[in-house]
């Protein structure tokens, strides 16, 4: 795998190989600090991120790489430099991989066509967030052994969610049934053709789910009339304590973060016994080690 730009198009064997490798890293495994020793990984975050950036950084360090952390604040982007000029300049300093987070869908794909080093998509616009989907799948696999025949319910702003897209491809490829739930305004056309089941009624599908993934309601969507208010959204699609009661006893609750507590997920549910939210974060480093190892081979 030369780049990791998205989950779409990956085969089950590719995904399982990455997850297997992540498993080895999670268990400590042999010392990996020589794998990328003396090499540089560039973290290019054109959009804010805490979790993903630090997680990639820790993964790179664990493999012995140096990390160049680059953010738009105070950079030449504010002086009008184009994306390609920025990345070509950074590439000229010799990194083996560029980890890119960008607000435009497809930005990593554009970069990948114009650089020689590896490109890893750390979230592009409303397109994909492949490392998040891999760590979500990893978390579920560790709990369940296999995703085959399981039902994962993803709730919220599907239209604008890169996490939903990547998870749809990833979980479906691994044999799970993915149900996408949200108001009609936030369910874009054609999702069924990627294997998803769609519903607008959270209450109807809750009892079937083996895991529920709540998506963040982004504040910038308010005022665009996708839904009347956060309050109404919460009432219809928030995973509150009463709804959590109706889940299967062993069903898991996930969230890619950052959470709006009290909007898409109630604090008691986020912190409750079903929640694997912090496990997701903890698994992120191992999964990203596996990704970096793979693309830097």
């Amino acid at each position: 795998m030369r780049h990791l730009l998205g989950i779409e198009g990956l085969r089950r064997a590719d995904i399982e190989a990455l997850l297997g490798r992540a498993e080895a890293h999670l268990h400590g495994g042999p010392d990996a600090s020589h794998v990328l020793r003396g090499r540089v990984i560039a973290n290019l975050f054109f959009e804010d991120s805490t979790r993903t950036r630090t997680s990639f950084e820790m993964a790179a360090h664990a493999l012995g790489a140096e990390v160049l952390n680059w953010t738009t604040a105070g950079s030449s982007v504010s002086k009008g430099e184009t994306l390609l000029d920025t990345v070509r300049n950074i590439e000229a300093t010799g990194p083996v991989a560029l980890i890119i987070r960008h607000r435009s869908s497809g930005a990593p794909h554009l970069v990948a066509r114009h650089v020689r080093c590896a490109v890893v998509n750390a979230g592009d616009g409303t397109h994909e967030h492949p490392s998040q989907a891999l760590l979500d799948a990893f978390t579920l696999r560790r709990r369940w052994g296999s995703l085959d025949g399981r039902t994962v319910l993803i709730v919220g702003d599907i239209l604008h969610s890169r996490v939903a897209r990547s998870n749809l491809h990833c979980l479906t490829t691994l044999g799970a049934k993915v149900v996408l739930c949200g108001p009609p305004t936030l369910l874009p056309p054609g999702l069924e053709s990627f294997g998803a089941e769609l519903t607008t009624s959270l209450d109807a599908v809750l009892p079937r789910a083996d895991a529920v993934m709540c998506l963040r309601v982004q504040s910038e969507r308010q005022g665009e009339n996708f839904f009347p208010s956060a309050r109404e959204f919460s009432r219809l699609y928030g995973l509150n304590a009463a709804r959590a009661e109706r889940l299967k006893p062993e069903a898991l609750v996930m969230h890619p973060g950052p959470m709006n507590r009290g909007v898409e997920i109630a604090p008691a549910v986020a912190d409750g016994s079903r929640s694997v939210i912090l496990e997701q974060v903890a698994h992120g480093v191992a999964v990203r080690r596996a990704i970096l190892e793979e693309v830097c081979r």
Binding site: L84, S105, G106, L110, R162, R165, P188, G190, L191
Partner: protein, 433 residues
């Protein structure tokens, strides 16, 4: 060069005059002097053997962005005219969204002067409907007509203000001027950058629903009926629009329409992996819309094939998809793409030729578009079976933004004659022009 030219033994296809057969065409002093089934013997003529070739009225493109003044890095009037004649076009209508906008006699005169200097094809002018294309105040239509504008349009931008649009349709009747419209309701297209559908969902790109176009066409049909004005719908992209236009024509409204080659060849899957050369407005739609556009071309709902030739450089195209500018160049690929419809059996050669010649000439009331005696000797000679591969690096246009780079096309321009002057031949602009 002799001012008498004899194009001998070519297959003349002249839809307006119902001609389709081997003819000799005699040109004298820039006009058609004779069209004869029997071979002509003319002593002083320069004889061009057109055996095996198509001899067609020069093509007319109602929708071209020449970019000058203001964006000469993308195209100039000269390079745009070179691209036009290389594509077989002997006349183009230059859109007003230059910098400054063509909303004045001054800009009109500038474009005309540059076109005269280029001395390649006829350049007709489209003036702005509103000052600066701002959609607020009408530009001086009478002055623009006086300066030679053949239509008015805020092309690239819709006239969102329905009241203003209604007045423009009324006022333009003073000059019997077609009002050309880019049909888009901006509140429906929003932040959209491509057609809304499976591909926009897959790519996580904001979608433009067909209603953005269709709702505006519906509004304008209502305004047209009420005002009895004259409307030309630019670059029709979807099925719903065609249904409305067809119905309006049936009821006798004065509406004409054009479609672009990209809208009758490509669907939104051409965006592939964020290919900005497949970004245009209106966006590429679905297979079903392509079929609807083709049906409209065949049944006469659409009058003209127009390219919406829109040159952009790498600064506008080698960027994130949502930051890329809309538009593709089209002058040099239009013929081959149109002829592909003939090869596929979608339409007859006669209909294809009509859409490039008679149709656009009638829509805007332009001279040319046919080869009757006395008509201007604007003639395009085509090798119908010549195969070639589109290589954007070899375009005469200054820009390379085409989604058709690398495509095999059949049918190539052998010669382009404008007012009896040979301006393009076998891949070269004629220096003697």
């Amino acid at each position: 060069m002799s001012s008498t030219i004899l194009l001998s033994r070519g297959r003349v296809v002249d839809p307006r005059n119902g001609v389709d057969g081997v003819r000799d065409v005699l040109v004298r002093d820039g006009t058609i002097a004779e069209v004869s089934e029997a071979p002509l013997e003319v002593r002083d003529a320069r004889v061009v053997d057109a055996t095996g070739k198509l001899v067609l009225p020069g093509f007319i493109d109602l929708h071209v962005h020449l970019r000058e003044p203001g964006e000469e890095g993308k195209e100039t009037i000269l390079t745009g005219c070179m691209a036009a004649v290389a594509g077989g076009f002997t006349a183009v209508v230059a859109m007003p969204n230059t910098r400054p906008v063509n909303d004045s006699v001054l800009v009109s005169e500038y474009v005309k002067a540059k076109a005269r200097e280029a001395r390649l094809c006829h350049v007709y002018l489209a003036g702005a409907i509103t000052k600066g294309l701002q959609g607020e105040e009408m530009a001086e239509m009478g002055a623009l007509v006086g300066a030679g504008c053949v239509c008015i349009t805020d092309d690239g931008r819709p006239v969102m203000n329905a009241g203003l649009m209604r007045r423009a349709l009324q006022y333009a009747q003073l000059f019997n001027l077609p009002v050309m419209v880019h049909e888009e309701d901006l509140t429906l297209s929003g932040k959209g950058v491509m057609n809304e559908g499976r591909t926009s969902t897959r790519l996580g790109l904001a979608g433009i629903p067909p209603s953005a176009e269709v709702a505006m066409v519906a509004r304008d049909m209502v305004l047209l009926e009420e005002t009895k004005g004259r409307l030309h719908v630019a670059h029709v992209s979807c099925e719903g629009s065609l249904r409305l236009i067809r119905e309006a024509r049936r009821r006798g409204l004065n509406v004409t329409a054009e479609a672009t080659p990209h809208h009758f060849i490509l669907d939104d899957e051409a965006v592939g992996s964020y290919d900005t050369h497949a970004r245009m407005n209106p966006p590429l739609r679905t297979r079903r819309d392509i079929e609807a556009v083709r049906e409209g071309l065949v049944d006469g709902t659409i009058d003209a094939i127009a390219t919406d030739h829109a040159p952009h450089g790498v600064l506008e195209k080698q960027v994130e998809f949502d930051k890329a500018w809309n538009g593709v160049v089209g002058l040099e690929t239009a013929l081959g793409l149109t002829l592909s419809l003939v090869r596929e059996g979608v339409m007859s050669l006669q209909r294809a030729v009509a859409l490039l010649t008679d149709g656009p000439a009638r829509a805007f009331g332009l001279p040319g578009g046919h080869l009757a005696v006395g008509a201007p000797a604007d003639i395009t000679v085509v090798e119908p079976d010549a195969e070639w591969t589109v290589d954007s690096a070899r375009f005469f246009s200054r820009s390379r933004n085409t989604p058709f780079h690398g495509r095999r096309l059949t049918g190539r321009v052998a010669q382009t004659w404008v007012s009896g002057r040979l301006v393009f031949e076998d891949g070269h602009i004629k220096e003697s022009r």
